[in-house]
């Protein structure tokens, strides 16, 4: 299959992007500044991310649709107000995670943002679960652009008036060049920011405007270090069909009311796990030295027993040290538990820690 290009491909090239194939797309991994500078620029100023490879699924329908979606997602969708967003997941019957997603209530339906690698399969699964009753469009005619970091609100508001009034996890339709764009105040970097759904024809022009105002393009490399510092899960790493939201430590995203009713796909497993606990759970891990423990690194306890594995690990430019997430046996998941990470045949000390690694309010103005 030929790799696809997003509408910003030319712009990436103009900015000396290094490309990598990701989920069937040619995506920029970094630009000339490099991952560390791009990461810091996002934390201190404003970074632009082309996330057009992600799925934008529009589902239209009224009351029936809300009821049917509640059988799928563990959310109070009936109470979700117009233009409000929630983080959730698509699960199988065993509460294994097919994908994590953001669902937003829009006029006459919902907009669901899906991971690039999962979007086609998600579409099939959802079509089947909804018995093809509703109009569903995985919209390839729109690009998705994120702008993240403390200066983003000022920059975006200069281009599209009024976005500054959006609250976190809410959205609305705005106009750019007399065309409708849907903007939510959200993102995946641990920073204040926005995601903008814009027609492909206008994506390049819109993004160049943001650059004119001082924002910079940021590649997938820094997107990964930013989300990891923020303690956020990445599908295919922390999340998979073999992990449940309880194991992934995402129970905050499951509605308590829906658990008490227990009427969504996978709810019996979730309820059981909430009551009796899970064997392994996702944790944050900080190596004591500078050693980087990457995905699949084995984790041992003080008695040298194998207790888990790293799912993501890198160097965190803002915490200025190595950071990792992984799954360990529940009894070793407490904060400050000492563990050992096997890297290139040697065991290196590390500590279980709380997430996120990086919190905005603590380090404002430090870098």
């Amino acid at each position: 299959m030929e790799t696809k290009k997003t509408s910003l491909y030319q712009l990436h090239q103009d900015n000396n992007a290094k490309f990598v194939e990701f989920a069937g797309y040619q995506m920029p991994i970094q630009y000339s500044d490099g991952i560390v500078e791009e990461h810091k620029f996002t934390r201190n100023h404003s970074g632009i991310f082309d996330v057009s490879h992600m799925g934008q699924l529009f589902i239209h329908g009224s009351e029936d649709l809300v009821n049917d979606l509640e059988k799928i997602f563990p959310l109070d969708l009936k109470k979700l107000k117009l233009n409000h967003s929630k983080y959730s997941f698509l699960m199988n019957n065993y509460a294994g995670i097919y994908d994590d997603l953001i669902i937003t209530k829009i006029d006459n339906g919902f907009l669901i943002i899906l991971n690039a690698a999962c979007k086609e399969k998600d579409f099939e699964i959802l079509s089947k679960l909804l018995n093809n009753k509703y109009e569903m469009v995985l919209d390839e005619k729109r690009s998705l652009i994120a702008i993240q970091g403390p200066k983003s609100v000022e920059i975006l508001n200069d281009v599209i008036k009024g976005v500054e009034d959006l609250n976190f996890m809410t959205g609305n339709w705005f106009l750019f060049n007399e065309k409708k764009v849907y903007i939510t105040r959200s993102g995946y970097t641990g920073e204040d920011g926005f995601e903008i759904s814009v027609e492909n024809e206008l994506a390049d022009k819109f993004t160049r405007k943001l650059i004119e105002k001082g924002a910079k393009l940021i590649g997938l490399g820094a997107r990964d270090t930013l989300r990891l510092e923020a303690g956020l899960c990445l599908y295919g790493h922390e999340l998979s069909k073999d992990k449940t939201p309880v194991e992934a430590n995402l129970k905050w995203a499951i509605s308590k009311e829906r658990i008490s009713k227990g009427d969504f796909i996978g709810s019996d497993i979730i309820i059981k796990q909430l009551n009796t606990g899970v064997q392994k759970v996702r944790v944050g891990i900080r190596p004591e030295g500078r050693i980087i423990a990457r995905e699949k690194t084995k984790i041992f306890n003080q008695e040298d027993l194998h207790i888990g594995e790293i799912t993501s690990g890198t160097f965190g430019p803002s915490v200025n040290g190595p950071v990792a997430m992984g799954y360990v046996e529940n009894e070793f998941s407490k904060k400050d538990t000492k563990v050992f990470l096997e890297v290139r045949g040697k065991k290196h000390p590390a500590n279980i820690c709380g997430l996120p690694f990086y919190k905005k309010n603590y380090v404002k103005g430090v870098n």
Partner: protein, 125 residues
Amino acid sequence: MSEVKYSKEHEWIKLEGDTATIGITKHATEMLGDIVFTELPEKGSNVDKDGTAGVVESTKAASDVYTPVSGEVVDTNQAIVDDPSKINEDPENTAWFFKLKIKDKSEMDSLMNKDEYDKFAKESS
């Protein structure tokens, strides 16, 4: 007089008497991206030609560092362990990796000179 030669694994080697200083090339740092971790061989240990003698990690991945010649490690550059970003800044000079007392000068013969390496690097990127 000293001569600088280059390996296909993108190391440079500068020979002065029987002491060789070894590091990675600018081209290598450009391919790796921001280097955030370095591991060097132990002083006093012996390394064999084309064997691993260290590790560099960028934000993206880990890569082995090979030694282009055999010898005993007589010095290592602690500065690049403390601050690996120095490797990106000055790879072919102050950010050297380790020094070897070499055993067999003829191992240098198969290595590339600057022109040959530049051509090789251009073709392999």
